[in-house]
Symmetry: C2
Subunit: 158 residues, 2 copies
């Protein structure tokens, strides 16, 4: 099982922190840009957003940071549709760099299709977007997604 390579980004110099590696939050910035790229791919692009006032809102995200990333690395984002219903998309993302065989981070997102009217409210995906997301799910079956999964955070003896 391989996710869809949806996005690439160099590490910007301002993203390196006092620990000498990519600051935690900028993995999230790159993943957010990757979700924009996925939205373009499935038809939730700027034209659709302008025409319909529909968009995606992020409800939840669980990230695992697994390896350090340095200024010279390029981040590559692979995504898998882990779940889908009429209004919601459960996405699994891997952050990869060329010099490391396994992901340097993984993240799961729960995203909601929203109509931005007077008050934003959940709205069903239109059929063509749902079909595009179904195709993505079929291409990369999330059943075997290898990343450490979201869970209740707690300190346990280890």
């Amino acid at each position: 099982m391989a996710g869809l390579r949806i996005y690439r980004s160099a590490v910007q110099p301002g993203w390196i922190d006092y620990n000498g590696h990519l600051r935690d939050a900028y993995y999230g910035v790159v993943l957010s840009d990757a979700i924009d790229a996925l939205m373009d791919r499935v038809g939730i692009d700027a034209a659709y957003r302008g025409r319909t006032r529909n968009t995606l809102y992020t409800l939840e995200m669980h990230m695992h940071w697994l390896e350090e990333v340095k200024a010279s690395d390029t981040l590559e984002i692979d995504c898998v549709v882990l779940g889908l219903d009429a209004k919601r998309l459960h996405l699994g993302c891997e952050v990869r760099i060329a010099r490391h065989p396994s992901p340097v981070a993984t993240a799961e997102f729960m995203l909601l299709h929203v109509h931005q009217g007077e008050k934003p409210g959940a709205a069903p995906f239109p059929p063509e977007v749902l079909a595009a997301l179904e195709r993505l799910r079929a291409e990369a079956d999330g059943g075997d997604w290898p990343g450490p999964r979201s869970r209740e955070l707690a300190l346990k003896k280890r």
Copy 2:
């Protein structure tokens, strides 16, 4: 139960996205800065990091986005020590804005105290840092932390 008000940040204009609100990932950037402020507070500051080559690494984070934040809002971050052992800190954070009575986002972090030697490795907190973290935990008992908690992400009928 109230968390410690650890950090405040205005919303920067570049953080507003095409949906007209604070982009999801920048909640994470502000939370990362808030954790720096917490590190300063408990003695894991620049002087300590320089002297010992010890620091904190983020292992995991689970965030819930609850309300939209606009360009005119100021984010305030309250933190609670939810768990603590010899090397790890489980932190609960609320993101608040003045015009909204409940948090606009919550996030749990699992943080590891690391010695950055030839290879970074987990290291026990020194006694004075552990004592400072214990005091924080005593001040704001996390047992009643009201935020939506971390969990396994999954689509369920609702």
